[in-house]
């Protein structure tokens, strides 16, 4: 077994998450954020939307599989910015399981709303469990990602990671997964060094997207996603280069594509996409 298809449809909510300036500022600081409003904690870095979601998402994964589930893809749909004073409630649901060549993917949808029921964001996490074979799919797939063929070199933004980047992100997100912090624990999963949280890579990539396509204003970002295609190893000198391409305008939104490569040239995030205010 390993993955319980009967768990499709299972829901898990979270306790109230209150938002403070200090917490948002801490998160921005951990990502080396240069956007003033985010550094000051007046508005959340977009990837902060994952923070209140993490626990219910992991709990659903744990109830559906005893195996290690790797976060393979993420897709944020932003309805409003996270700001100090909000009281957030999250409900996550295992919406589907899909067979793949490598095993199975589990698709979790998480909705955040404020205590007065304003929608904040909807997120789809696609997680990969290896060595599982499935004859049929159950439940729903993740929504289609926007298709765009990047042309040209793109605008590169390179950020050098500090040796303690994973520790800083762990502390800011409260995600202390051992394989991000401990060489031995990473080794047990087959990695030669601790790997950076996928969401930290996404957060650093989002800095480039916000800078290139949103004039640094998180409120102009409506959607952000991508595939975590290779681990970012926490080795000396590690750096992340994000390239951003502009695509078509549809209505009030413009499509943006991005890719993030690590020091060795491997694509850490591929098929990255965003929808921004046109």
């Amino acid at each position: 077994m390993g993955v319980d298809v009967g768990k499709v449809g299972l829901e898990r909510d979270s306790e109230e998450f209150r938002v403070s300036t200090a917490r948002l500022a801490q998160f921005a600081e951990a990502l080396g954020d240069t956007i003033e409003a985010q550094r000051k904690g007046r508005v959340a870095h977009p990837v902060f939307h994952h923070v209140p979601v993490m626990q219910s998402m992991v709990e659903l994964l744990k109830s559906a599989t005893t195996k290690f589930a790797l976060h393979g893809e993420h897709d944020f749909h932003f309805h409003r910015a996270i700001e100090p004073g909000q009281r957030l409630y999250t409900v996550s649901k295992l919406i589907g399981i899909r067979p793949t060549k490598a095993g199975a993917t589990l698709i979790i949808r998480s909705d955040i709303a404020t205590h007065d029921e304003l929608k904040v964001s909807t997120q789809y996490s696609t997680c990969l469990v290896t060595s599982e074979k499935f004859a049929k799919a159950a439940g729903d797939p993740a929504p289609d990602r926007p298709v765009m063929t990047p042309e040209g070199e793109g605008e590169p933004v390179t950020i050098k990671l500090s040796p303690d980047q994973a520790f800083r992100y762990a502390e800011a997100a409260r995600d202390y997964s051992p394989y991000t912090l401990d060489t031995e624990a990473a080794g047990e999963l087959g990695f030669p060094a601790p790997i950076l949280h996928g969401m930290c890579t996404m957060g650093i990539a989002a800095r480039a997207v916000l800078g290139a396509a949103c004039q640094g204003d998180a409120r102009k970002l409506f959607r952000l996603g991508g595939r975590f295609s290779a681990p970012v190893l926490m080795v000396p000198g590690q750096l992340l280069t994000t390239r951003v391409w502009f695509g078509a305008v549809r209505g009030a939104r413009r499509l943006v594509a991005f890719e993030t490569t690590e020091m060795g040239g491997e694509l850490a995030i591929k098929l990255g996409f965003a929808e921004v205010g046109a």
């Binding site: 403070s20 200090a22 004073g85 202390y176 051992p178 912090l181 401990d182």
Partner: protein, 557 residues
């Protein structure tokens, strides 16, 4: 000592709650919070589950991960092996530092008993505990070493004085560095083992050592965890001294729910909200005058821009409750707890809005039973005051070396709390006062706590204490000690104004007869309450020496 005879508390009958009494709603089933048998299991499993998440952060920045904490606990337990045997007492006298918690679980894993001594204790109080508990070892900080050295001969069994010295968290490393770790996953603890002794500062007689076993701890942790849901993003703020049970409860509930405890070295109004924000606390546990002191602090932006979503407080001042909610932006759930009875009553979460400023301490959690009785242990009518009797599984195991006091307190199978309370028609409980702190004036019972709460709510008041003064005519009279806020004096806040203020909230017979102003802080008990014994014994005639008398309208020398 772990082989205690039955304390006689099993005889309580499960009183049937009338259907129209309020209940705590949406509480998961018993033992779903902690399906463990011992506190050592909680530590072992909680640390293994999420090794790099901090278990404890101290306000000046020291952070201990679960992995590091377990490692230190297991090595210190290894050091104690052979020195502390099953049922042996170990006195611990330490400030708020990580080594306190390491010592606690190191002792428990050896099936020893931590006997707690306030770090500020002097040779009289520390000596009483050492001679009563006859510990085999003492663990203390450098500041406490002279006290322990002075009293160590009062235990015939005391073989080891372990001094916490050097940089935190390495204060025990001199002992445990090379010790073979005692594997907590294979510790041989039993659920019925007594693991801690806290001396309760009774209003009369010498302090008594209250014996608590794993079951007491598990039940408190289970109740607390089920009544308030916490998660990975939660951090509980501890502003109480570690030698009290509450901080260790917070540490264990944090381990159970993958949270973190943020601890202050000691409570401070000026540092409070900075610590809350800097370390992202989401919950507060407080006792005694903490909220009243906070409310006296200058307002600042950090007091409402934070992530706190709940405070649990024992003895909430109802006069300040609505203001506290408005000023800080989260609920303060009034709770009724004690060393002997654990968590006995709390405001139900779903009724929090409605019950603001009513003064109620809510109702019993599932599995706890409270009766309100008269002096003959007969249940009084709804609305009448009487002593609170507590029933339920896993209450305290009795008082150390005091079988007759234990039997008396537990007569009829119920723990006699010494607290006077009342219950309303919805089953909600209200604290009236300590049985021994009720002032009996001309046949009326006056609660010192009630008068104090009114006085404390005045803007010019920093702290107060109300005590009975013997009176030939009326039996007893009410005397109030008032410590005005800095800048205020008996001139700017004269007795007439005090009385006029009290008159707005209190029946005439409750008004203080005597008022004495103080400029100095009150002496406090280890649990941060005003030490009234020192006031009562402070002078021969409590009505003289700068005391204002309402009947003469002047100060008497």
């Amino acid at each position: 000592m772990s082989k205690q005879a039955s304390t006689g508390l099993d005889g309580y009958r499960q009183s049937k709650r009338p259907a129209d009494w309020v209940e705590h709603e949406n509480v998961p089933p018993m033992w779903s919070g902690v399906p463990h048998q011992t506190t050592i299991e909680i530590v072992a499993k909680g640390c293994a589950e999420d090794p790099y998440r901090p278990v404890l952060i101290i306000e000046d920045g020291l952070t201990i991960t679960r992995k590091d904490f377990l490692d230190r606990c297991q090595r210190f337990a290894g050091f104690l092996k052979g020195k502390v045997e099953t049922g042996d007492n170990v006195v611990v006298m330490l400030d708020n530092r990580v080594e306190f918690m390491i010592a606690l679980f190191g002792i428990i894993a050896n099936r020893g008993v931590l006997v707690s001594i306030a770090p500020s204790a002097q040779s009289f109080d520390a000596g009483h505990i050492v001679s009563d508990a006859q510990p085999v070892a003492a663990i203390c900080g450098m500041p406490q070493k002279p006290i322990i050295d002075g009293v160590r001969t009062r235990s015939d069994k005391l073989q080891h004085v372990i001094v916490v010295d050097g940089e935190e968290p390495d204060g025990l490393e001199a002992y445990s560095r090379d010790a073979e770790p005692l594997d907590f996953a294979n510790a041989k603890c039993q659920r019925e083992d007594v693991i801690t002794v806290y001396y309760t500062s009774g209003t009369s007689g010498a302090p008594k050592g209250c014996l608590l076993h794993h079951g007491w701890w598990l039940r408190v942790i289970d109740l607390d965890t089920r009544m308030f849901r916490r998660g990975w993003q939660d951090r509980q703020l501890c502003c109480l001294p570690f030698y009290y049970a509450d901080p260790a409860i917070q540490l264990l509930t944090s381990l159970v729910t993958r949270g973190t405890m943020v601890a202050m070295r000691r409570f401070s109004v000026s540092r409070f909200w900075d610590v809350v924000n800097k370390y992202d606390a989401t919950e507060i546990l407080s006792i005694a005058s903490v909220p009243a002191l906070l409310m006296k602090g200058d307002p600042g932006p950090s007091e409402h821009d934070h992530r706190i979503r709940l405070a649990i407080h024992a003895g909430l001042p109802k006069e300040l409750h609505a203001q506290m909610l408005k000023r800080y932006g989260f609920h303060w759930h009034n709770q009724y707890g004690s060393t002997e009875g654990g968590v006995m009553s709390r405001v139900p979460h779903h009724l929090a809005d409605e019950l603001v400023a009513t003064g109620t301490m809510g109702t019993e959690p599932p599995g706890v039973f409270i009766r309100v009785v008269d002096d003959d242990d007969e249940d009084v009518a709804i609305g009448q005051s009487g002593e609170a009797l507590i029933g339920g599984p896993d209450l305290y195991k009795g008082y150390l070396n005091r079988p007759e006091v234990t039997a008396e307190a537990n007569r009829g199978g119920w723990y006699h709390s010494g607290d006077v309370i009342r219950r309303d028609e919805r089953g909600l409980l209200y604290f009236v006062g300590r049985k021994k702190e009720i002032i009996r004036r001309s046949g009326e019972n006056i609660s010192a706590a009630e008068v104090e709460a009114v006085l404390r709510s005045h803007d010019k008041v920093l702290e107060v204490a109300v005590i009975p003064v013997p009176d030939e005519l009326r039996g007893e009279e009410v005397k109030a000690y008032i410590q005005p806020k800095p800048g205020e004096t008996a001139k700017s806040f004269p007795p007439e104004e005090v009385i006029a203020f009290c008159r707005q909230s209190l029946a005439a017979f409750k008004l203080p007869r005597y008022i004495e102003y103080r400029t100095q802080d009150f002496e406090r008990t280890p649990s941060m309450r005003v030490q009234k014994k020192s006031l009562i014994e402070g002078k021969q005639d409590l009505t003289k020496g700068g005391v204002w008398d309402r009947e003469t309208g002047r100060f008497h020398d």
